[in-house]
């Protein structure tokens, strides 16, 4: 039961951040990376609150969905451009 | 003793809401309508704002409590009549065809 002493907000948030960064590095698809980035944001705010910087935690909690939305807009546009380019390449190859 | 403040706030908000011609209940089916009515959300907002002012420590003397509660009710009714639809508009239904048209040329 000595292991239960390590279950507090500091160690749990650090473990969540480590799991999130491992997921960002290891998973191949971009939207999986964004989901693990959402996991990392939760652990990050927990780490800030564990050090009692409450105003920084408030600002980070407000700015997190904005960063996620900007990443998702970029991923969606890039995917559409790649699919269009692939279709164009297929048509040109068909013509040639 | 403190519960009289909540009753005054809810009562003034509902009466001013009825004067400003808000509907009493949303139209049926009630769980999918976006109409701003007297019961929901005006009464809930009046309860919450009164609790905020009470916890911030502005309800001290017995005489000015009732005036503050009356002012909260009036401001809540004006807020839900004129400002709530403007800062939190109801969402558009389907916008996916427009974006695909934007990208295609």
């Amino acid at each position: 039961m000595a292991l239960l002493e390590f279950i507090n907000i500091t160690y749990v948030s650090a473990a969540v951040v480590i799991i999130g960064s491992v997921g960002i590095i290891a998973l191949p698809k971009p939207i999986d990376k964004v989901i693990m980035f959402g996991l990392l944001q939760g652990g990050f705010i927990g780490m800030i609150a564990a050090a009692r910087y409450l105003d920084v935690a408030m600002a980070a909690a407000i700015f997190d969905p904005i960063s996620t939305v900007i990443l998702l807009i970029g991923i969606t546009k890039l995917d559409e451009i790649r699919k269009k380019k692939q279709k164009q390449a297929q048509e040109e190859g068909f013509l040639v | 003793m403190l519960y009289i403040v909540y009753i005054i706030a809810i009562g003034s908000a509902m009466i001013l809401g009825l004067i400003l011609k808000l509907p009493l209940l949303p139209e049926r089916p009630m769980r999918q309508s976006w109409t701003t009515s007297v019961i929901f959300p005006t009464a809930v907002l009046a309860l919450g704002f009164t609790a905020m002012v009470s916890k911030l420590g502005y309800l001290t003397s017995a005489n000015s409590n009732y005036l503050i509660a009356l002012a909260i009710g009036v401001l809540t009714a004006i807020f839900s009549k004129f400002i709530l639809e403007r800062i939190l508009p109801r969402p558009l239904q389907e916008e996916s065809p427009d974006e695909s048209q934007e990208v295609s040329p």
């Binding site: 239960l4 279950i7 507090n8 907000i9 749990v12 948030s13 473990a15 969540v16 799991i19 999130g20 491992v22 997921g23 191949p28 698809k29 971009p30 939207i31 999986d32 964004v34 989901i35 693990m36 959402g38 996991l39 944001q41 939760g42 652990g43 705010i45 927990g46 609150a49 564990a50 009692r52 409450l54 935690a57 408030m58 909690a61 407000i62 997190d64 969905p65 996620t68 939305v69 998702l72 991923i75 969606t76 995917d79 790649r82 699919k83 692939q86 | 916890k55 996916s96």
Partner: protein, 83 residues
């Protein structure tokens, strides 16, 4: 006692998020992380401002979950360029 229960639930959900096979299965586990982290923040910071931070964090995480779930429906199978 209560902190240990919530912490073990958060660690369980985080590990299942990493090893899940499907994309929308990950979204459900991420929701459990949102609940658990806001409960941990409220249990650690015992002032009224802690409650405001917990509520703000929960609403913000739900907003980002909404955006991710909307774009899962639009981007079905994306193209990966690996050099």
């Amino acid at each position: 006692m209560i902190t240990e229960i919530v912490g073990i639930i958060v660690l369980f959900a985080a590990v299942r998020t990493l090893i899940a096979q499907d994309r929308s299965e990950r979204m459900l586990y991420l929701n459990v992380i949102g609940f658990g982290m806001s409960a941990l923040i409220a249990l650690y910071i015992q002032t009224p401002f802690g409650a405001i931070i917990a509520i703000t964090y929960f609403v913000a995480s739900t907003l980002s979950s909404n955006a991710i779930a909307y774009s899962i429906g639009r981007v079905k199978d994306e193209i990966i360029l690996d050099d």
